[in-house]
Symmetry: C2
Subunit: 309 residues, 2 copies
Amino acid sequence: MRHVDVLIIGGGPAGISAAIWCKRLGIDCLLLEEQSQLGGQLFNIFNEIVDYPGMRTKNGIEMQREMVKHFVEMDCLYEVNTKVLFIDERSKTVKVKKQAKKQEICYTYLILATGSSQRKLGVSGEQQMIDRGEVYSASADGERLKGKTVAIIGGGDRAFEGAHLLSSKAKEVYLIHRSTRFKAREQYVERVISNPGIKVMTDTEVTAIHGNRHVTSIDLESKNKEYKNLLVDAVLIRLGVAPNVDLIKGKVATAQNGLIVTDDVHQSSNPFIYAIGDACTTPLFSSISSSAGQGTIVAKHISSLLTES
Amino acid sequence: MRHVDVLIIGGGPAGISAAIWCKRLGIDCLLLEEQSQLGGQLFNIFNEIVDYPGMRTKNGIEMQREMVKHFVEMDCLYEVNTKVLFIDERSKTVKVKKQAKKQEICYTYLILATGSSQRKLGVSGEQQMIDRGEVYSASADGERLKGKTVAIIGGGDRAFEGAHLLSSKAKEVYLIHRSTRFKAREQYVERVISNPGIKVMTDTEVTAIHGNRHVTSIDLESKNKEYKNLLVDAVLIRLGVAPNVDLIKGKVATAQNGLIVTDDVHQSSNPFIYAIGDACTTPLFSSISSSAGQGTIVAKHISSLLTES
């Protein structure tokens, strides 16, 4: 069975940083990425990146290119299209699948850099909409959504900010939330509620998204069981993010919000398993630079453990 | 009196990152730097920087240029040549001096990004040597030290690594340490002790460095009061680093190693004073990327406090 001193799951900024540092410190390390390219959530950043000190890029893809170039130039070992199916923390082994081929890899230390994902509604038509590429950024897609009827689903900052941004571009904006309580900051809520261009619908859930080539309408169900079909051209789902921790559930301690609990060197409750990046960082503090910083700390810490032993 | 929401002391990577993030988050922020240029310890990195994900630079100065360019393009407010003389944490005011001009600045939150400094011997001739630019990197200055007699002072990893690196280049290498116990890793010590090209002198202190235009010799005093003058061409002082915390001593909690104690959002024992970078980070975990990451966290945290209030 293949053995590595450090196995990293996830090739976003946190995992890339950990791998670069492992290489730099002479640690035998392998990074696994499920997608066909490294970069993780960098692919979802459509705006200019101005907050990674020393480097400004037009968008996430440009940052991804620079990070991957660095990673490859450092000769870091990695596998893409490789899905981790199972972590056996007792035998310190992971089962992975690359296309049809399955294999097992044994580790001394495991670093979870699995990131987070946008929460989904889980309703019919949603995945088809995403697969068709009908995924919008409120700040970057104002032109694409000009004159359209747009539904934004959620009750947090991003939902309210999105509604506000699009109200000057779109024909109609609906903000739909399943409760009457909003998580968003008060000033965001006030700005939206006082905006006559935005219709706020509370106590309302989206039960289906319709449309074959593009979204045409959504089904709504109110708390008191009223049903309605609303004609819309675009749906922006803004339900917040959830850490990708399914693989490790029950095997390390997680907080109520799902985040993996780690100490100051990013060790989890299992001393051979570490977590970095959005899998253990509250969305408020999530950033490329803090992810990169965490990758550094964890590699340096593991290096000191490997040297001692 | 001038007031800012966030006052940052220190313009190395940690301070630069905090300032960029403050700007990004719309926080009224001012950064003060004692030296004539921003960059802090970046000026002491003579090797290629390969461990800041996404950006590789030939040396610290190239990294400094990129970071300062970013900082300036973001229109971050700063003052160079500005020394903080005193922090009055009760009135939340600092006294600063720029050339002859003194002023007071009032803050809501203070971020200490004062970094760390190489420990010095504190003997005559040492500062003159440093002022003449006789400061060497064992890894980068092999050619400059070729055929010379070199004394390395210290008992830690960097002293032993330096002795090992230079033993193949220099004519003679002395490793001089005031005790018989070494802090360096065992394998580093073994490699040096078994190297016939390196003379290890223990229980020995350096009491003076001589030379007018360049170093010519050093005075040594052994534990049993034997005195000796040793002819050398270069002295590398490798006594480790100490955090720059004089300004804040007694005002916030510090650990035994001098580091400012902070929590996970980098708040010190005073809720209005934060610390980031080498002022609060053990040298083992010190890096540009972790400093940048810490600057991000602290700015995001303070932003959430300012928004709540």
